[in-house]
Symmetry: C2
Subunit: 662 residues, 2 copies
C-alpha cells in the first residue's frame, strides 16, 4: 500500500467498478467513481456491520438510493467480505444470473447484504427513513443495548427531486430521526446534463428548512467526510451531508461531464484512469494489502457483535423472548384465537356503519397482542379509524405506534417498505383506495422485494357516494391484481374480514392489499366454521338449492350480498344458482384445477363487482356475464349510484337469464 | 348592503356554502368559509374573466386545488353569473346529476367555468403550474396583446404536503413563472387535526428557498389580500400568498377546530352563524344589492373582453389564423401527409436501434408542422430522444418547447394536464414505462377529464435488458388498460407507429399512452397502404395461407414479430395460422361484433406479450394460449431474458399445438 492507504482503499472501489463496467459493456460509473471516498470513509471508520451475519445483528443499515450506481455497493460488499459477492460475481456484473445485477436486489432477509432493492428514484431514501422509524421504535421498546444503529443512504440529485423524496425530507425532519444520515452525491449532473436544467433551489437550504442538520463538504476529502459523519452521529436531527463530488472521477474523458453518468466505458478509459490515479494493478486485481485493509474494516465490528450478543443474552427472559420473536417476524401465541373469537362474535353483532370499521375493530383487537405492529395513515384517521388505543409516533414519543404521515401517501408506502425490510415491526398503511395510485410505486417495490407490508384501503368503489368520481375507484382493483406477487383481498363481511386478516398476517413473503368498503358490509356468512374459507381465495358460499347448478354467481366485497339476492331471485323461478365469494384471486389461482373447477362450475357464470371487468374474463370466459362499471363514477348517494350504473341483483338475474336463454 | 359591502359579498359565499352543505347533509365547509374573503378580493378586484364566454377569452385561470371545498367555487360561479350554476343547482349540491358535484368537475372546454377537475390533492396546483407554462409559451408566440393572463390556485395544506406539490414548487420556482399565484389557506388544520401532527417546517420558507415570492398575511383582511395580489402580479417570480385563516369561520362550534374541516353542519349551525355574522337573510337568499355587486364584478371584464377581441382582430392575418387554429385545438393542413410519407419511407429504411427512436423520428418530423406541441421529459432526454430541434423552455426562453422536468414524473404528468386544459398547446410527456406509476395519479385525472394529453413511454418490457426488474414493466400495460378512457397503444414497427401517432394526434377527447420498446422494432408491415390499419385497434396482419385458419396468433408491439415467426413455423407444418396485430385494444373494443369476430377468428387463439396475461382473456378465452410473463423480470441481456422467460415463437407454436391437439 502506498502513502495514502485510505486512498488506495477508495481506488479499489473505483477500479473494481471501472473493470466491471468495461467488461459488462454497460453500466453507470458516475456514482461508484464519484462516491468512492465517501463510501470508504463510512465503511472503514464508522459503520457497524458484520458481513458474516448480515441478517440479524444490530447492524447499521446502508441503502444505495441512487441504485443505478450498483457497482459501488457490489464493490463494498466484495471488499468487506460479504460471501455472495465474490470476485467472480463482480466479473459477471449484469450477466444473467449474477448477484451483481443492473440494480441492487435484496434477497430474502437481506442475507446478501443488500438492505433494499433500489433503482426507481426516491424509493431508497424513503426506505431508509422507514428503517430509521423502525429503529427508533425498537430502540424505545427494547433499549439501546440491543437496538441502537444508524441508517445511512447514498443519494443522488434524482432522489431529491422526486416527490417521494421531498415528502420524506419533510416528514423525517418533522419526526427528528437523528439516526438517519443521507450522503448526497452533489455532482451537479443528472442524465440530461447540468442540474441547472431543472433545479435552481439550494438543496441544502431546503433540508435546513425541514429541520435537518446539514453539512456541506468535499466528498473526495475522506477526513472531511469522516468528521461530518462524527458530527452527524452526535446531532439529534436527521443529517444530510452535502458532498460536493466530481462525477466519474478518474475517467479524464468523462469526469465532471454529463457523459460521466453512464456513457460506455472502454479498456482505454480504464487504462487512462490507471495512469491518472497511479493504480498499478491489473483488471480486477486488488493488491493483498488493500484487500487486507478492507477485510480488517469488515471485521471491525466483530467485537461489537460479541458485545451485542452478550447484551441480548442479558435481557430479562421475557423481554429477550419478545425481542427475538419480533426480530424473527414470528407472531405471538393465541393471535389466531383472537381472530377466531371475533369471527364467531361477528355472527351475533349487527354490522357497523362502514366496512372499513370492521378492519378497524380487528386492528383494535390486535393492539395488545401485536405491540410490533405500526400503523401509518395519510391524514385519514377519522374515516379509517385504525388508531384507537395507539399513540402517535413522533419526536417526543418513540413508543407511539401510529404515524401521522400527513397527506403524503407515497412516502407512507415507501416508509412501510423500509420498516418491513428492517424487521422487528409489522408495517401497515391506511388510505383510501382511490389514492392507492399515489403510493403505487412503493407497492410495486414491496411486491418485487416480497416484503410483508399490509396495505389497507377503504372507500373501495362508487359506494363512497357523493365525493364523486375522483374518489371512486373503478380501475384500481384491476390495476392492483395486475401486479405480480401482490395479494389483493376484498372481504364481503366481518367474517371474511377476520379470515383475510388472518391470512394477511400470516403471509410473510409478500405484500397484501386489503380493500374495504366505506358503506356497511352486512353479513353474508351466517354460520360459524373454524375453517378459514378465504384461505383458498374463493369458495362456494351458497350451492344451488332448487335443482342442479345452472349458473354460478361470482362476486367480491360489498357485491357478494347482491349476488346472494340475485341467487334468491333465480332460485325462486327454479334456476339452480350458486354464489361464489372470491375475496382473494391470487390465492384462488394457486389452488389445484379440480378445486377451481368445483368452485366455478361448468355452466353459465355471471360476475359482479363495482369495478371494471378487466381480469374477470379469466373466470367468466369471453361469453360470461358481468355486472360492473365501464367508466368512471359520479357524484351522488351510493344507493342511487348503484342503480344508475345498474349494479344490482336484477342486472345479474338478467345476465343469467340471457345466457341461459330463458 | 351594509357599511361593508365587500364583507357582505364574502358572506354571500359563506352562507350559500353553509346552506348548501346543511341541505346536502354532508360536505366540506372549512375551505369555503375560511377562504371567502380571499376569493372575494380576488374575484372583485383582480380577476379577468367573462362568465358568458368561459371557453375562449384570454381569461385568468382559477383552480380550486383543495377541491373538497367545492362550494367555494360553486358559490363564486353562481354569484358571478356563470350560467350553469343557478341557485337551483346550488340547492342540489351533491345530488346525483347536479353540476354542483362533491368535487368540482371540468366540462368539455371548461364551458361550465371549472378549469380542471380537482380532489386528489396536489393535482390542482400542478395543473395550475401547467397552465402558467402554456400561458408563458403562448404569450411568447403570440404577444401580450392576445395572451397575457394570470393563473391563480386556491390551495390547502394537503396539496403542499403531497410529493407532486413539492415537485411543482421546485420546478415552478426554477422556471420563474411570474404569472402563477397560489393562495394558501393557511388554517393549520388537516383532516387529522392540527398540522403540527405531521409538519414542522416553515412552508413559506420552503417556497422562498425554491425561488418564490412569498407574502404572509391575514386571509380575512380583504385589503391585505388585495394588496398582496397587486404585489404578486408585479413580481417576476411565482407568488405564494400565505393567508392565515380560521377554518370554518363563522361556525362558532367548529371554527378553528379539526371538526371545521368537514363535520356535519346542521340548521342550528346555520342559524348561529347568521347571528354571529349579522347575516339577516334566509337560506339561499342573497339580497339584491349583494347579488348586483357580484354581478357587476362578474361583468367587470366586459371592456377587457372587447379590447382583447379587437387585439385578436388586429393580428396580422396569418398570425391570427394560426392563433385561432391552436386555440381551437385544430391540427394544421398536411399534418397527415407527413405521417403518410414517413410510413411510406419506413418501408425502405432499415429500422433504427430502438423502438422509441421511431417515435422520436416522427416527433422530429412534426416539429416544424406543430409549433404548438410542447414536449416534457423527466431527465431521460438521451435515451428517449424527443428533443431534437427543440430548445428548452426556461426562465430565459419562453419559446422553448421542451421542458426539462428533472426527475419529477408526477408533476410532469399533472403539468401536461394543465397545459391541455389551458388549450393552445399539445402536451406530450416522455419517460420510461416502468415509471408510469409515478405519474399515474395524473394520468387518471387526464382520463377522467378527457384531456388530450399524449403520454409517450419507452423501455416497455423485459426487452430493456440488464437494468433489471425495477426497470422492466410487466404489469403496467395491464394497469393502463384498466383505466377507463385511456387509449393504450403499443405499435409493432415504424409503420404502425406512424399510424398510432396519427390516431393519437387526432384524438381530442382523452389521453393516449403510446408505448415503445427500447430494443429495435424491425418491420412487420412490408406493403404500403394509405389506409390506417391501426385505426380499428387490431387487424389481420397475415391471414392463414396453407389452408383455412386453424389458429389465430395475437400480439402487440415487439412481440408481433415473434408471432409472425411462429406463424411461419406453423404454416410450415400445415397449420393454417393468422397473425393479428393489436396496437390498441380500446379502439378494437369499439368496433362492431362482426369485425371483431373476423379478426379474432373462431378457432384456437394464442396471445403473446412480454407482460402479464391479465386482460388478454377477453380475446383468448379461458382456454386460450398465452405466452408472456407471470412475475417480475431479471437482469440480463434482452435476448437471454426472452429465452429465460420462454417468450419465443417456439412457445407460441407449442401452445397452438397443445390446443389443436397435434
Amino acid at each position: 500500500m502506498n502513502a495514502h492507504p485510505q486512498q488506495e482503499m477508495a481506488h479499489a472501489i473505483r477500479f473494481l467498478s471501472i473493470d466491471a463496467i468495461v467488461k459488462a459493456q454497460e453500466g453507470h460509473q458516475g456514482v461508484p467513481l464519484g462516491m468512492a471516498e465517501i463510501a470508504t470513509a463510512l465503511y472503514t471508520r464508522h459503520l457497524k456491520y458484520n458481513p458474516q451475519d448480515a441478517g440479524w445483528f444490530d447492524r447499521d443499515r446502508v441503502v444505495l438510493s441512487n441504485g443505478h450506481g450498483s457497482m459501488l455497493l457490489y464493490s463494498l460488499l466484495h471488499l468487506t467480505g460479504y460471501p455472495a459477492f465474490t470476485l467472480d460475481e463482480i466479473k459477471r456484473f449484469r450477466v444473467l444470473g449474477s448477484v451483481c445485477e443492473g440494480h441492487p436486489e435484496r434477497a430474502h432477509d437481506a442475507h446478501n447484504g443488500i438492505e433494499v432493492t433500489t433503482g426507481p428514484l426516491g424509493q431508497g431514501i424513503a426506505n431508509a427513513f422507514g428503517m430509521a422509524v423502525a429503529e427508533a421504535f425498537l430502540n424505545a421498546r427494547f433499549g439501546s443495548d440491543v437496538v441502537n444503529h444508524f441508517t445511512y443512504a447514498f443519494v443522488g440529485d434524482g432522489c431529491l427531486q422526486e416527490g417521494v423524496g421531498q415528502e420524506m425530507i419533510s416528514l423525517a425532519g418533522h419526526l427528528q430521526l437523528g439516526k438517519l444520515v443521507l450522503l448526497w452525491d452533489d455532482n451537479q449532473i443528472t442524465d440530461d446534463g447540468s442540474t441547472e436544467l431543472s433545479i435552481t433551489e439550494n438543496v441544502a437550504e431546503r433540508f435546513r428548512v425541514a429541520g435537518w442538520h446539514v453539512i456541506e463538504l468535499d466528498g473526495h476529502d475522506m477526513e472531511a467526510v469522516s468528521a461530518a459523519l462524527d458530527a452527524a452521529r452526535l446531532d439529534p436531527r436527521p443529517s444530510m451531508l452535502a458532498c460536493r463530488t466530481v462525477i466519474a472521477k478518474g475517467i479524464a474523458r468523462l469526469q465532471g461531464q454529463r457523459g460521466g453518468h453512464s456513457a460506455r466505458l472502454f479498456e482505454e478509459d480504464a487504462q487512462a484512469a490507471r495512469e491518472l490515479l497511479g493504480w498499478r494493478h491489473g483488471p480486477f486485481h486488488i493488491p493483498a494489502d488493500v484487500q487486507q485493509a478492507w477485510h480488517t474494516a469488515g471485521q471491525r465490528s466483530a467485537a461489537q457483535y460479541q458485545a451485542w450478543q452478550a447484551c441480548v443474552a442479558a435481557l430479562p427472559v421475557a423481554q429477550r423472548a419478545e425481542f427475538e420473536r419480533v426480530m424473527r417476524g414470528e407472531l405471538p401465541a393465541h393471535w389466531k384465537q383472537v381472530l377466531m373469537d371475533y369471527k364467531h362474535k361477528a355472527l351475533l353483532t349487527p354490522p357497523g356503519p362502514s366496512g372499513i370499521f370492521i378492519s378497524a375493530e380487528i386492528n383494535d383487537l390486535l393492539t395488545p397482542l401485536l405491540p410490533e405492529r405500526m400503523v401509518a395513515c395519510a391524514d385519514l384517521e377519522a374515516p379509517t379509524s385504525h388508531k384507537r388505543g395507539l399513540t402517535a409516533f413522533n419526536a417526543q414519543d418513540r413508543l407511539g405506534a401510529y404515524v401521522h404521515c400527513g397527506v403524503r401517501e407515497h412516502v407512507m408506502g415507501s416508509m412501510a417498505n423500509g420498516m418491513a425490510a428492517h424487521g422487528g415491526v409489522i408495517a401497515l398503511t391506511v388510505t383510501y383506495l382511490a389514492f392507492a395510485d399515489y403510493q403505487r410505486p412503493a407497492m410495486r417495490m414491496a411486491a418485487l422485494m416480497g416484503l410483508p407490508v399490509k396495505f389497507v384501503f377503504s372507500h373501495d368503489s362508487i359506494g363512497i357516494g357523493r365525493n364523486g368520481p375522483t374518489h371512486q375507484p373503478v380501475e384500481i382493483m384491476a390495476s392492483l391484481r395486475a401486479m405480480p406477487n401482490m395479494w389483493v383481498m376484498r372481504p364481503a363481511d366481518a367474517v371474511e374480514a377476520a379470515e383475510c386478516w388472518e391470512l394477511a398476517l400470516a403471509h410473510q413473503d409478500g405484500p397484501v392489499s386489503m380493500v374495504f368498503a366505506r358503506q356497511s358490509l352486512p353479513l353474508v356468512r351466517h354460520t360459524h366454521t373454524s375453517d378459514n374459507l378465504a384461505r383458498r381465495g374463493a369458495y362456494v358460499l351458497h350451492e344451488a338449492d332448487c335443482g342442479p347448478r345452472q349458473v354460478t354467481l361470482l362476486a367480491t366485497g360489498s357485491e357478494v350480498l347482491l349476488a346472494v339476492q340475485a341467487r334468491e331471485q333465480l332460485e325462486a323461478v327454479g334456476v339452480g344458482a350458486a354464489v361464489v365469494s372470491m375475496p382473494c384471486w391470487e390465492l384462488f389461482n394457486a389452488q389445484d384445477a379440480a378445486y377451481r373447477q368445483s368452485v366455478l362450475g361448468t355452466n353459465v357464470r355471471v360476475g359482479i363487482e363495482a369495478a371494471v371487468r378487466q381480469g374477470w374474463d379469466a373466470y367468466l370466459g369471453i361469453d360470461g356475464g358481468f355486472v360492473g362499471m365501464t367508466g368512471f363514477g359520479a357524484s351522488g348517494p351510493a344507493d342511487e349510484l348503484y342503480k344508475l350504473f345498474n349494479i344490482t341483483p336484477e342486472a345479474m338475474v338478467a345476465q343469467a337469464k340471457r345466457l341461459l336463454k330463458i
